[in-house]
Symmetry: C2
Subunit: 519 residues, 2 copies
């Protein structure tokens, strides 16, 4: 059933560069060559102009058809389960989310207002010079490379948010398949290829390349006709792609989402009111998906009084009793164990591990407790440890908490637990954290990322390489578009979105006023 | 009257690193040190939080006050004229434009809708999980460095568009003064400092550093607390800043506008209808400001028939008769002459120079005529030659024109002269050029950049380092802002822009619908 090959412009291609298998499965996948990279980007570039000029409804139907194909595929769930060890209910939920994302972008494309159309009409009588007619909208940038995540084999992989938003913008996509779930990638790729075929989309808009090699990733990012890169994964890999793109003769943007420690601040009033409930909720958030979420809360801060002791004790008991969990790959489990050992080896860090017995590739939940001085003097304490663990920082005062907050690196999220009185008393914390994060949560947990217009899943470096961008929610489409202004154009030559009569019925800024009217 | 010193957080500072003078003037300016860079960025960082939280009206009043100060300063015009040799009427016009830009951003800040507010309200009854309340808006990024242009000593310099848009977004600004017009920079800086003082703006929001040294520019761009860079100038200098920012531990965006050759395509019908008028207009555009505009039309393409010969002949006569012009600096004039000699030395390039006699730092207008084969085999033919010159490419056919257009590098603009019949017949040209440029003009000239919401003054590399960004028009503010999402926030803790009652009366996307209503 599986072919085990890369797909270039919709067709499987032969390779002679060896093969690899995902850790848990026997099926082998052929390594793509730099020749395949060239063919894939060239095909994308050739398909670009026809794809971007298709009626919006065709692009939307393509996305809807992919959504239906993903939703209907039980093979996809079975493959993802076998390859990632993620539980079936989680994968079924992720499949629904993936289809939902594709449909949200289909709706956005049909609606059309995302192009941010602006029209300033001519003023021939203006002095000293007449004002020309100028109209502006967003157009797609060109071929996009997508590097999917290991931890969301559906929602952040082949047919995930990056691909959906790039297709929606009008960009062809070359996906570099994640080698930890290549069979899942192949199945999703075939869904996309079938959807393109069924909706009359040129086959060059999609290619899938299997590779475990850094030089292939670099060749893709450095291909002269590639125009942007979407990535979700580790800081090390994301930064390498960013660096490769920055030294190109023509630099291109790399939208790398690289995770963070997502600090949680527990304020005194909240601790008094519902410390136990916060500990219970925190433990759930830390354990979710064996701690393999980019929004996993990896740092917890509070003022170290008696109530905080009770809170930590409860968290400690939870962790001791927590079951081990199978991680995505054996290598990740190994990294987790290495990192946990490094943290527990720091003098002044108290470590609690789950008392359960772990099998192969199973991670034991961990709790680390230390103070602000240790945090500030040991960089690894505030770095992401990917897996079911969190670090509690017992601070001496609120000023120490502010001091730690000011020293934090960029984060996807930060969370504050506080009563209304806490939030008033400790208001500077919000202001400090606004400069550090992409999303601020009050009295909740950072896991669970809504897909909606207001979602911002991004944040200052090293959370991402571009804090203006989000990889979740409708604003993700803006990563793959750029403005073009049309001056003094005859109506027949203008894109539909900019014609006087507003045939697409979109929102436009006309002479400074936002309206859906015609000119 | 002139102090000749850098200003850190509004105060002149002493330096001991030597001094320099602008070529034409005797006044000397002290070189800033890396210590000044540190102090300026640290002051900006300290001022950032109070500045960004000021009421929008205060920020707007600050911008308005700068505009009034610029408008009232005749010293500014006198200094700019002495330093740049640009004629007084041009500088008076540029001063009006500079004040106008500042006021447009004041209006944008007062209006408030630029923050792109989005609200998705909670749905507690949603299954399987309730939907939280999420609200998102743009906030300023932090301290911004601005490197002004030599060719617009007012509109793209100390109080120019980059500074105006950064202040409008809520960012403190450190300007690296252009060493070709340091007195002009000092006068504009003092206007800004006085405006901050008069409107209660913290002094740390503005510093001015005088320097001729690349290591000072690099120290500024690589300061850990700097968050973005605006630049207008040469490809070499812009790319150096981009590279310096990309290798930072925390990379930051560099918005470098580096100019282009702005190709003009003259189609057969237009040539037949009004070839002489196009040649006349083109000559004016090439000569404007001694060819020192980033939108200077440096490449002219047409099908080499008899009518095109007539057109070229007329252009040739214009150039022969054109007066010499004094360039911004002697070094630029030297570069222009070197470049002109290099082009005329290429076999197959016919050169016409103005027959006038040039004085010191005066450039002689030049016309170069060649064919597509020479263009495609000699990179320098399609590279910007800063000064009063243009290169005519005589193509063999429309397909050759398409071929050349496909090979062009990124451009700020491209222009097509055509009759309605031309534009229909040669429609592929528009589609090819959309992928190459930031602005497309029909039957006009690229010089003259409107400051309005629909203006896009940007374009694919090497026109800029970020084709999503514009350095002119209201959208320029988005370079210095990034989104933050607020989840489950109590109303009192939310920014005004996101509160239910919409006290700022701004446009917001509420549950997917754009409205000025309250929630």
């Amino acid at each position: 059933m599986l072919i085990g090959k890369s797909f270039v412009a919709g067709e499987p291609v032969d390779a002679a560069e060896g093969s690899f298998s995902a850790g848990r499965e026997a099926a082998r996948f052929e390594e793509a060559s730099t020749g395949h990279v060239d063919r894939a980007v060239d095909a994308a570039d050739r398909a670009f102009d026809s794809y971007r000029h298709l009626p919006a409804d065709m692009r939307a139907s393509f996305l809807d058809r992919i959504a239906a194909g993903i939703e209907a595929s039980d093979d996809l769930i079975a493959a993802a389960h076998a390859e990632t060890a993620l539980p079936l209910p989680r994968l079924t939920g992720e499949r629904a989310r993936t289809a939902g994302q594709l449909r949200i972008f289909a709706t956005l494309v049909r609606d059309g207002s995302w192009v941010d159309a602006r029209i300033d009409r001519a003023v021939p009588v203006r002095t000293p010079l007449p004002r020309p007619d100028i109209r502006r909208m967003l157009i797609p940038v060109g071929p996009v490379a997508v590097f999917g995540a290991s931890n969301f084999p559906l929602a952040f992989s082949v047919a995930g948010g990056d691909t959906a938003s790039a297709f929606a913008a009008g960009c062809p996509v070359i996906v570099k398949a994640h080698p930890a779930h290549p069979a899942t990638c192949e199945i999703a790729a075939r869904v996309i290829i079938a959807a393109a075929d069924a909706t009359g989309i040129p086959s060059g808009v999609f290619s899938l390349l299997h590779s475990t090699r850094a030089d292939i990733a670099r060749a893709l990012v450095q291909h002269p006709r590639l125009k942007a890169v979407g990535f979700t994964g580790s800081l090390r890999a994301g930064r390498a792609l960013f660096d490769a793109a920055a030294v190109r003769p023509e630099p291109i943007p790399v939208y790398a989402e690289m995770g963070s420690v997502n600090p949680v601040f527990v304020l005194p009033g909240a601790l008094a009111e519902r410390g136990a409930a916060i500990a219970d909720g925190l433990k759930e958030a830390v354990m979710l998906g064996v701690g393999q979420f980019c929004t996993n809360p990896g740092l917890v801060l509070g003022i170290g009084d008696e109530r905080f002791d009770d809170f930590v004790q409860r968290l400690d008991a939870h962790m001791r009793a927590a079951p081990p969990g199978t991680m995505l790959t054996a290598a990740m489990c190994q990294s987790y164990e290495t990192g946990a050992r490094r943290l527990s080896g720091i003098a002044g860090v108290a470590t609690t591990r789950s008392e359960a017995v772990a099998q192969d590739a199973q991670a034991l939940p961990s709790l680390f407790v230390t103070d602000a001085a240790i945090l500030l003097s040991h960089q690894e304490v505030s770095e992401e440890l990917f897996g079911p663990s969190t670090v509690v920082i017992r601070c001496g005062s609120i000023d120490e908490i502010y001091g730690v907050a000011r020293q934090l690196q960029g984060q996807l999220t930060a969370t504050i637990h506080g009563t209304p009185a806490d939030l008033e008393e400790y208001a500077p914390l919000v202001s400090i954290l606004e400069n550090k994060v992409g999303r601020l949560i009050v009295n909740g947990f950072p896991t669970g990322v809504e897909v909606c217009p207001s979602m911002h899943h991004g944040g200052p470096y090293p959370a991402t390489t571009d804090p203006r961008s989000t990889s979740v929610g409708t604003a993700a489409i803006h990563r793959f578009a750029r403005p073009v202004a049309y001056q003094n154009f005859p109506s027949s030559l203008l894109p539909l979105e900019l014609r006087d009569e507003n045939p697409r019925k979109i929102w436009r800024l006309i002479d400074g006023e936002l309206t859906k009217d015609s000119c």
